[in-house]
């Protein structure tokens, strides 16, 4: 598998973290997944440049969905796991080799729908992993069905007369569960996403970043914003950056406000350190999150 490497000038800045031979990727024109992925890769490179993170230690785990396809493009150790199970898979990675750092990158349906129980318990345990959830407000890969994040009243192929359900505010939920780092940004804030990842990746415990994204091909079409730019602007309209003081101040309301910002930023011991407080494993002093946090 010899990879043809084009001249440096003709490569993207993050190309060395991509399986470029597979580009262009499958995502539709204007899909926000790529924006999020790029921010992640930029963050990795930036942290690497500072000597904080070593890409060999990262394991990039995705579930099934459009977002889940990301693992096919990222040139890191990784896995494309069954629908809803990337967090579960990541448990095993970390337990087997505590020197690795699992990064879960997946869709809202995958993580908060079918995968909700793992999200719940990983956050509760403050289990050491970074989770980046791309929230495109629907089940995109399967054609636009209702997601737990779909706005109330919105059309989806399984709620053709409008969604009767109350959506889930996933970031708020994870914050309520006591994760170490919780932030929500939208793709209008690529630098903030990158910064959030730079802050969260080297941190111990459970770190969760929700990125509000656009799926113009399916979600946009259903709600009448077919062009990526229109949907981009529609989403920008409700995305409001704030510094909420209580959980109750965090909003997830497609008509008025979806609160953006950093909701939790603390540094309590993660799961791995907790077991180190009970057993003296030889890796206890080499947990990368512990070392990195200190830098």
């Amino acid at each position: 598998m010899t990879v043809q490497v084009p001249k440096l000038e003709y490569r993207h800045r993050v190309d060395d973290l991509l399986r470029t031979e597979r580009l262009p990727h499958v995502w539709c024109p204007g899909c926000g997944i790529g924006i999020t992925l790029q921010a992640f890769l930029r963050a990795v490179k930036a942290l690497e440049a500072k000597g904080v993170v070593d890409r060999k230690q990262l394991v990039f785990v995705t579930g099934i969905g459009c977002t889940g396809r990301a693992s096919g493009y990222v040139r890191l150790d990784g896995a494309h796991t069954p629908h809803g199970r990337p967090i579960a898979y990541a448990y095993g990675v970390k337990l087997a080799n505590p020197k690795l750092v699992p990064v879960v990158f997946s869709g809202d349906g995958d993580l908060a729908g079918i995968g909700g129980n793992h999200l719940l318990h990983a956050a509760r345990r403050n289990f050491d992993m970074l989770v980046i959830m791309v929230n495109n407000f629907n089940y995109a890969l399967t054609g636009g069905q209702l997601a737990p994040t779909t706005p109330h009243g919105a059309y989806s192929t399984t709620t053709p007369k409008g969604n009767p359900e109350r959506p889930m505010d996933v970031a708020r939920l994870v914050a309520a569960l006591g994760a170490n780092y919780v932030a929500r940004w939208s793709i209008h804030y690529p630098v903030h996403i990158e910064e959030a990842i730079k802050r969260a990746l080297p941190r111990r415990g459970f770190r969760f970043i929700e990125v509000l994204s656009i799926c113009p091909e399916i979600f946009g079409r259903h709600i009448g914003f077919r062009s990526p730019v229109d949907l981009y602007e529609r989403l920008r309209k409700v995305s409001k950056v704030k510094k909420p003081k209580t959980l109750e101040e965090i909003k997830y309301d497609w008509e008025n406000e979806i609160t953006l910002g950093v909701f939790v930023d603390k540094d309590e011991p993660g799961y791995m350190e907790s077991i180190c407080s009970v057993y003296n494993y030889d890796w206890c002093n080499e947990l990368p999150e512990r070392r990195w946090s200190k830098q």
Binding site: V26, C28, P29, E217
Partner: protein, 188 residues
């Protein structure tokens, strides 16, 4: 006798809708019709293919995908080349969109090359209905489907705001054929 029809083109050309409309019309005529689809994952630059197999009755029904087409409709060059091997050498009729295709891929005996896309743009105002324009032509040339039936079907199968323009395209194609083309007898 079974009639096998293949319709192929690029993603976005409305290939699947064309097959569906044609199939529905043939079902209305009393045939047992099988219509299967293939398409690629990409939105652009991908392919689309719609197969129709027309059986005189359900008892004779067997295959689902075209083995060798009696009628082939190619709306784009690349797909013509990809699927030429699935067309009988002595196919009853091969229809090509002359907008994108210069030469038939094989020496089929009866080839009808019409620049559907260009004509649709010219006569109906948008290239997007080239497929239904083609159906108008098909209807006249083959006599397999009755234009009124097809127009009824269009009315119930297409999104409301698209009905008008599609009916217009169908008529335009039908009239174009009437004025410029000869009929072909299809055996079934």
């Amino acid at each position: 006798m079974t009639l096998e029809i293949i319709i192929a083109g690029r993603g976005g050309q409305g290939i699947l809708l064309t097959g569906y409309l044609l199939g529905k019309a043939l079902v209305k005529k009393g045939y047992y019709v099988v219509n299967s689809e293939m398409y690629s994952a990409e939105t652009r630059g991908g392919f689309s293919r719609s197969d129709l197999i027309v059986f005189p009755s359900e008892a004779e029904m067997d295959i689902i995908k075209v083995r060798k087409a009696d009628i082939a409709i190619f709306m784009y060059k690349d797909q013509m080349h990809s699927y030429a091997e699935y067309v009988k050498p002595n196919a009853q009729l091969v229809i090509l969109d002359g907008t994108f295709i210069d030469e038939p891929a094989k020496p089929w005996p009866r080839v009808l090359k019409v620049p559907f896309t260009r004509l649709a743009e010219e006569k109906v105002g948008t290239y997007r209905v080239a497929n239904v324009f083609m159906l108008g032509v098909f209807s006249y040339v083959t006599g397999l489907i009755d234009p009124e039936t097809m127009k009824e079907i269009i009315k119930t199968s297409v999104r409301p705001k698209w009905i008008e323009i599609n009916l217009k395209a169908f008529d335009a194609g039908y009239n174009y054929a009437k004025e410029n083309l000869e009929r072909v007898e299809i055996k079934l």
